[in-house]
């Protein structure tokens, strides 16, 4: 497809601007004038419309079909939230307007923060961070400020080897050194390794629970004890909150500080580079370090609070990605307490159901592998594993069924690759020909040839059945005709971009 720049014809235009009524002011001597004219595409309105319409036809999103990209929580984003975010009372206001004239917007910021506190069991929070990793970074700045305020310098952050890559990256950005904590064979944090690395230099452990293997860290109470006995902080990466919201709360698990991905768990659209929203929440002893502005409520209405005393400052302009937060707010009030809980339960049920189907032909090293689909539905139907952290925490039911996954699961194509040469990447590519988005591949790093699926609660049984059937067909084809799968996809506009060349010899500008 040609770029819009390639379609440019000199002096062609969409609109003809009227002559300016403002006198021209010469800045010739200011040194700011550009030397060459800006290279902008010159196209007609019709050229422009056709160009972007063609691009949108090639794009794939949750609205197009199944999008089981593990760890990303690609749930459906209800259109109601879009219309809420499009209300002129929210879109036509300016961040510097007097607070008395934007009471509705301030109420949204205030109430959303309150709801998130309730959902997470935390005492306070800020909506300012613009994305998940930004929330991690902000939390780590707060962690550093907290120890400095006590006259301590702690330089180490512990990160399990199954963690999202953003955890070590955020820690390094915030000036910490990263210590990797290995997982045990069952995919959970190795407590002995954790004890061995926990010393006076450790500022925090960053933990995702359930972890990236879709497993609940059932030893969380003991983990919290080890970390707190050392006066370190326990940080909750909220990436997988979708599995437990309304069921259990990070604050009750012993976490001190955390971020939430509103664009994942709370159904604001994401992908394609944003925008996201990564609020930070904390226990009361960390309140003074939160970024500002913070909104408070009084009898007179809503208004900005005085910046916290030891605040890490502003981490973004104004109030974060307000319209993203607004969509999350709409999601929470639309679902209500029961709906939030129901969403988590269905997310876990869907993942376990799909895991049971897929593990019939691809090895699932953890969780649902040992259950068949009847057992999953039986277990879920009786309030056992599905939607309940108690299952992975070894309830009687889960002992019977051998443990379940939470909202996502990982299977390995390692054996298939040895037998047929078809890799996890090849399976992912082949799925495109079935009109589905590939799962996450090669993550977490602790599983070879990993394929990570997260169906989310918004998918129907029929969609999950169709995806499992497609995968079964691909794996079957891999045995008979591996070359076909290795060359898939055949229907996509772009099938196999040269990732190696893109990384080694990137062309970042025309």
């Amino acid at each position: 497809m040609r770029l819009i720049f390639d379609k440019s014809v000199k002096d062609r235009a969409c609109v003809t601007l009227p002559a300016s009524e403002i006198p021209v002011y010469s800045v010739k001597n200011a040194g700011f004038l550009r030397i060459a004219a800006a290279e902008l595409p010159e196209v007609s309105e019709l050229d422009l419309v056709r160009h972007y319409d063609a691009l949108s036809a090639r794009a794939y999103g949750v609205d197009s079909g199944f999008y089981p990209l593990g760890s990303c929580t690609m749930k459906y984003n209800p259109k109601l939230h879009e219309s809420m975010a499009g209300l002129c009372g929210f879109t036509d206001i300016h961040p510097l307007q007097d607070e008395t004239t934007v009471q509705g917007a301030l109420e949204v910021v205030y109430l959303l923060t309150e709801y998130l506190k309730e959902i997470t069991g935390m005492d306070d929070g800020s909506l300012q961070p613009a994305a998940g990793a930004h929330g991690e970074f902000t939390s780590l700045l707060m962690t550093d400020a907290y120890f400095r305020s006590k006259g301590e310098r702690r330089k180490k952050i512990l990160v399990p080897d199954s963690a999202h890559g953003t955890n070590p990256a955020s820690a390094a950005m915030a000036g910490f050194s990263v210590v990797n904590i290995p997982s045990r064979r069952d995919g959970l944090v190795d407590l002995n390794a954790l004890r061995a690395e926990t010393d006076g230099g450790v500022a925090a452990l960053m933990l995702t629970n359930p972890n990236t293997l879709g497993l609940y860290e059932k030893n969380i109470a003991e983990i919290a004890e080890i970390i707190h006995a050392n006066d370190s902080l326990l940080y909750y990466d909220g990436a997988n909150l979708n599995a437990v919201m309304g069921k259990i709360r990070p604050g009750d698990m012993g976490f001190d500080i955390m971020h939430i991905n509103l664009h994942k768990t709370f159904s604001a659209p994401h992908g394609g580079g944003g925008p996201g929203s990564g609020p930070v929440l904390c226990k009361s002893f960390l309140r003074d370090f939160l970024p500002y502005p913070l909104v408070g409520a009084s009898e007179g209405g809503y208004g900005f609070l005085k910046p916290p005393k030891k605040s890490v400052g502003k981490v973004r302009s104004f109030y974060g990605n307000f319209l993203v937060a607004l969509k999350a707010f709409a999601y929470i009030i639309a679902l209500g307490r029961g709906g939030i809980r129901d969403a988590a339960e269905k997310a876990v049920l869907n993942a376990n159901y799909m895991c049971a189907l897929v593990s019939e032909f691809l090895e699932a090293p953890f969780g649902g592998a040992r259950m068949n689909k009847t057992e999953v539905s039986e277990c879920g139907g009786e309030g056992g594993c599905a939607g309940s952290f108690e299952c992975a925490a070894e309830s009687e039911k889960s002992k019977k069924f051998g443990g379940a996954c939470m909202h996502e699961f990982v299977v390995s194509a390692e054996k298939l690759k040895v037998d047929t040469g078809v890799s996890a990447l090849d399976i992912a590519k082949a799925l495109i020909d079935y009109g589905m988005h590939p799962p996450t591949v090669y993550f977490p790093l602790t599983v070879h040839e990993a394929l990570m699926f997260e169906p989310t609660e918004t998918e129907s049984k029929e969609t999950i059945d169709a995806a499992a059937a497609a995968l079964r067909e691909i794996v079957g084809e891999a045995a008979k005709n591996p070359e076909k799968i290795k060359n898939a996809p055949f229907t996509a506009h772009v099938g196999r971009p040269d990732e190696v060349k893109a990384a080694r010899k990137p062309v970042l500008a025309r």
Binding site: G165, Y442, F443, H448, V500, A503, R504
Partner: protein, 120 residues
Amino acid sequence: MRKELRFSATHEWVETDGGIAAVGVTDYAAEQMGDIVFVELPEKGAKIFAGKPFANIESVKAVSEIFSPVTGIVADINETLLDAPEAINADAQNVFIVKVKAESYADGLMSADEYEKLKK
């Protein structure tokens, strides 16, 4: 004929030749990482420690830390890897990443036979 080659459980090799130890990653490690796109090297003269990471290798799949099988001062780095990291994919077992003035070696380094068994 190569000097004595020893292997770590984290898939690095070390070749000892008197006081200077060459360090690289094994073919198995290179295959697991996939196509390598960037290698981050330590500086010459830096001290690296047995069992601790001293370099990063970025592949299309992930960034992996490379653990040192030896403690000592970095005497030489393989600068050709900065422009041609794919050399590791082509022949990992024969491409050194650093050469180290060795003071001591990590515990538990294995012979080629023992390493072969570990992989299984």
